[in-house]
Symmetry: C2
Subunit: 350 residues, 2 copies
DNA sequence: GCCTATAAATGGAACGTTCCAATAAATCAA
DNA sequence: TTGATTTATTGGAACGTTCCATTTATAGGC
């Protein structure tokens, strides 16, 4: 039924023959009201088709239970996995997080953050869009709303970040490639306006230097962090006089693109050109050939970020420790057989 | 700057030496205020670090500009694409949609819907979770909040739905398989508590009947709508005495699973067993072998759904026409060469 | 019986906006 | 000058909650 105008606690009160205060108490599950009264009120709530007005409540309480998750690219399954990890934690805490997508666009991000703030969120978990300006979170910090960065962070910011050990992951992957006998390596994808980029590229370079790959034998191609970007990177690199024989990719999307481009050229990932991805999304394992990738425990990091956020809200602070998650290399087929023992043909797949 | 307590329009008013009403007018971009006054007020807004309290505003206006998108499985790129299509439209309209994931869980969905309603959304676009009870939207309808279903709909519901022509899509795909010479067909994945399932299965069956495939030669295996589900379906089907030689899958995720399971058995999708997917997600084209799939123009349907929603909100109605989107079959490699001309070897791919 | 302690329910003042009706200031017609 | 008209600005009452301070009812102790 429900009349046209929305029902309020006053309507409930009238219906149940009690005061609005009593209804409010029932709504909050207070133990102060007599059970029979509570039952009566709850029946009235049902009868009038009441829906709680959180906006009005927050006006008094100034303590919303809404948490915003701002994601830079929802179509990248990596971020979807991250979001799902966080949701698990929030769900257990009885909180419904609202997800918003920025599509890697700082302007859009600005709008999204503004909207979330206006909505009165209790906290924000953000994977900042590429090209986010350093001041983008100043107002939010000033407002005292806790923020944590997930997966990505900003150059100089006091906002806590939850991210994998990108440097080490890249180092491990590069080391693996060099161990396989590759001497001309490439780093594909990403752009230097991302802190993660420098972390990962840094690990790549450090491994090269430590293990004796001179700068002349290193190809670095920036590019979109997408399949398309990966395809472009490979084309660029293969056009060189002495092209690389292996590549560490900024992320799995780029790696898939590289593998695709290889196939287009009649080359086989693994046998003809080694490719390693980063993030280890679910598909990596099922790709053909299966993609070697740096596993970062995406969902685990999402859970961690959510926990940190919960703790910050609870302790009313805007500060927290960074968390650097452990990484490991999931070795599969895409980085191919050992080059030192070449000519042997098939077999061997890590 | 910004003091501990949140700034309100009264603080701005004091700072700018005007009344709160004037500030409110400026905030709403009313043309009634003198430009110099507006400038002064805007400066004050900046100075005090004000953030608009939409909850308080909605209390008066009863007209929020928040739209909720409730998605049953964000990790399925298909739904992520849908969400992105909608976002494009809403962004142009200056609206920030909030996305919430139900993880295919009706209980979770209930919570999510409740939370969104309490937040005072202006409208809801929902892809209902599997197993949603018919009454799940009764309260929302009673509250007069416009709802549209995207991709999925409920058995008996007056809520408008935006979905592809599932029946026809399945018919086309099945027809194609039969045309290729297959005589024992399977339908893999999905479950009968989904309306879409019946639509797609219906198309499959109609094609079989029309084109002379007797019921005895049809295998129908329900299963999870995921890669895992697809793998299970194939195993079940191949265990039969006279196993099928081709399958139409409920969606692409299932199809990928089937292809994976084929590979595990040393069989090749296309050559040894034909598989066709549904939805045509971005990866389908890039898979190995490339997946034949029913293309539904996901992003387009998302945009359509968003437009319908906008129109409903604008015209204050809760009714709208269903929209059935056109479909087409994207023929690729996974359905293999023509069986009638078998033994010829390679060649032919759509 | 009265007084006190406890339990249960209540009225009213906030919270931060919007919007109507009203005021004040400026302009114009006579 | 006076009154009418337009242009800018303003006070105050709402919106639907929460929560404090009270009130009212119930029980217990003597």
């Amino acid at each position: 039924m429900a009349s046209r105008a929305k029902a309020t606690i006053l309507d409930i009160a009238r219906e149940a023959g009690v005061s609005k205060s009593t209804v409010s108490l029932v709504l909050q599950g207070s133990g102060l009201i007599r059970p029979e009264t509570a039952v009566k009120v709850r029946k009235a709530i049902e009868d009038v088709g009441y829906v709680y007005n959180r906006g009005a409540a927050n006006l008094r309480k100034a303590h919303s239970n809404v948490i915003g998750m701002v994601i830079n690219d929802l179509t990248n399954p990596f971020f979807a996995e991250l979001a799902v990890g966080m949701e698990r934690v929030f769900q257990a805490a009885g909180i419904v997080p609202f997800i918003a997508n920025t599509a890697e666009n700082p302007v859009r991000q600005e709008e999204v953050l503004k909207s979330l703030m206006e909505q009165g969120v209790a906290g924000l978990i953000v994977s900042p869009a590429r090209g986010t300006t350093p001041g983008a979170f100043r107002r939010i910090e000033a407002a005292g709303v806790p923020v944590v960065f997930a997966m990505r962070r900003l150059p100089e910011s006091r906002i806590p970040a939850i991210a994998p050990d990108n440097h080490r992951g890249a180092y491990l992957a590069t080391q693996h490639l060099i161990g396989k006998g590759h001497r001309r390596l490439a780093f594909f994808g990403g752009s230097s306006d991302l802190v993660v980029y420098h972390d990962r590229l840094g690990g790549f370079i450090e491994a090269c230097e430590t293990l004796g790959i001179p700068a002349a034998n290193r190809t670095i191609v920036e590019g979109e962090t997408s399949r398309r970007g990966g395809m472009a990177c490979l084309e660029t690199a293969l056009a060189a006089a002495e092209p690389p024989t292996a590549a560490l990719c900024f992320n799995d999307a780029v790696a898939f693109g590289v593998m695709l481009a290889l196939r287009k050229r009649g080359l086989e990932a693994g046998a003809d050109f080694a490719v390693v991805g980063f993030d280890d999304v679910a598909e990596a394992e099922h790709y053909m050939p299966a993609l070697t990738s740096v596993a970062v425990d995406t969902a685990g990091l999402g859970e961690r970020a959510a926990h940190v956020m919960l703790k910050m809200i609870q302790s009313r602070t805007t500060r927290a420790e960074d968390h650097i998650g452990a990484v490991s290399l999931a070795v599969r087929e895409s980085c191919g057989p050992d080059r030192n023992a070449r000519g042997a043909g098939m077999g061997d797949a890590a």
